[in-house]
Symmetry: C2
DNA sequence: TAGATTGTTAATCGATTAACAATC
DNA sequence: TAGATTGTTAATCGATTAACAATC
């Protein structure tokens, strides 16, 4: 459950804490843009609906300089520390397979680089889009994937193909040297232990929505 | 941390267990489509990388009929039980605001109904898309939102606008009677306690990818 | 100084896992 | 019967929260 820190010291934080960091990051960006210079853990906690001790512990794990009694944390510095911890400062190349609607939406999204990821090439076997340009990136046929990944040393693969072909694409990516896979297809991908597969599970989210409505309904009746 | 069950009995499961259910669901669908009739907890556990006791407990929480020693669980029945538990059998209407690339991708996705959600209308203030059709749904100007939501008694709202306008749309949705919000904008939305906000945080996922690469890199050097 | 905030140590809470009897 | 699998009770593990001394 622990996330290995990429810095020199060997501090690790829990996966739960890790998932909270981007929340802090987004909020701190808002503060910075509004010109706010200092912020305290209680304020962050209240905004995020978290416990203030938890916030302090999370921040202590990623920021060595820490906060100051009375004044709290410096927004700019904290933002930099969290960004560094999350790898947002270190842009990695990525390839995307499946240039359908979702794939195109991701290709069009300009915010990825802000979070350390840049899509350098897209692939699809659909004849309509092969060879076409999609948001200034050419869509290549899938059989060009291994060569390109090896040549550019790409390590992140994004899968936006239908469920049926996702495992096949996953296998091809692994063969091409991809180490980290971001999967949007609604299947659980099997890969060697050293490959990290991050499933973007829409089904979970949708279930949470339905669940909440159903629970609420019962309470109301 | 517990999720209120929508059925008659008052059984609750942890949010962690709840999030695993769609995984089982997807896997069971594959099995059913392959004609497999029975499956055991150890097999599911191995496939999902989970502990078999955990799987058994999760399944026990949603399926009253349970499994049989030696043979395990009936795939079809289990699928039905999980689907019912997750609300996939009870389709709810939803509205979407923000018909940009991501919004369009969601509009084009035909799988939502399988998971209990149906987008009945989309809204956007961008002149280019207002009044246009996007995947056979007309895009309405945002000021039509309250009336339509109230008229159709829509309770799910999907936000795919930029971060800057997300809170404003959130507020409008709440005023329009929306009870559950699925937020794709990279901001933490503030809403009354009884409104359920599900944040689809891409920043978390991207950070996890970077993190894994960084950790791996250090180990390799 | 007084008081808000910090960081840390200890207590609590809850989820996961191990052990085991029951079943077909 | 033997053995795989079930469901449950107890032990373990880890995350969250409470309590508190230190600081500016």
């Amino acid at each position: 459950m622990a996330v290995q820190d990429s810095r020199d010291d060997k501090m690790t934080i829990s996966i739960h804490a890790f998932r909270r960091l981007p929340q802090y990051y987004n909020y701190l960006k808002l503060l910075r843009n509004a010109g706010v210079e200092q912020v305290s853990a209680p304020i962050i906690a209240k905004k995020m609906g978290l416990n203030e001790v938890q916030v302090r512990k999370d921040l202590a794990a990623v920021s060595e300089r820490g906060g100051k009694p009375r004044t709290g944390f410096n927004v700019i510095e904290l933002l930099r520390d969290i960004g560094r911890y999350l790898g947002y400062d270190n842009i990695q190349d990525a390839v995307l397979v499946g240039a359908g609607y979702l794939g195109s939406a991701l290709l069009s999204y300009k915010g990825f680089e802000e979070y350390g990821v840049k899509i350098v090439a897209a692939f699809d076997n659909n004849n309509e889009c092969v060879g076409s340009e999609n948001f200034s990136r050419i869509i290549y046929p899938v059989d060009k994937l291994p060569d390109l990944c090896k040549r550019l040393n790409v390590r992140i693969g994004i899968i936006t193909v239908p469920g049926e072909s996702a495992q096949e694409i996953c296998d091809l990516m692994v063969k091409s040297g991809i180490q980290v896979i971001w999967n949007f297809a609604p299947v659980h991908l099997l890969a060697a232990k050293e490959i990290f597969v991050q499933n973007e599970n829409m089904a979970v989210s949708l279930a949470l929505l339905s669940q909440h409505l159903a629970a609420h309904e019962e309470g109301a009746q």
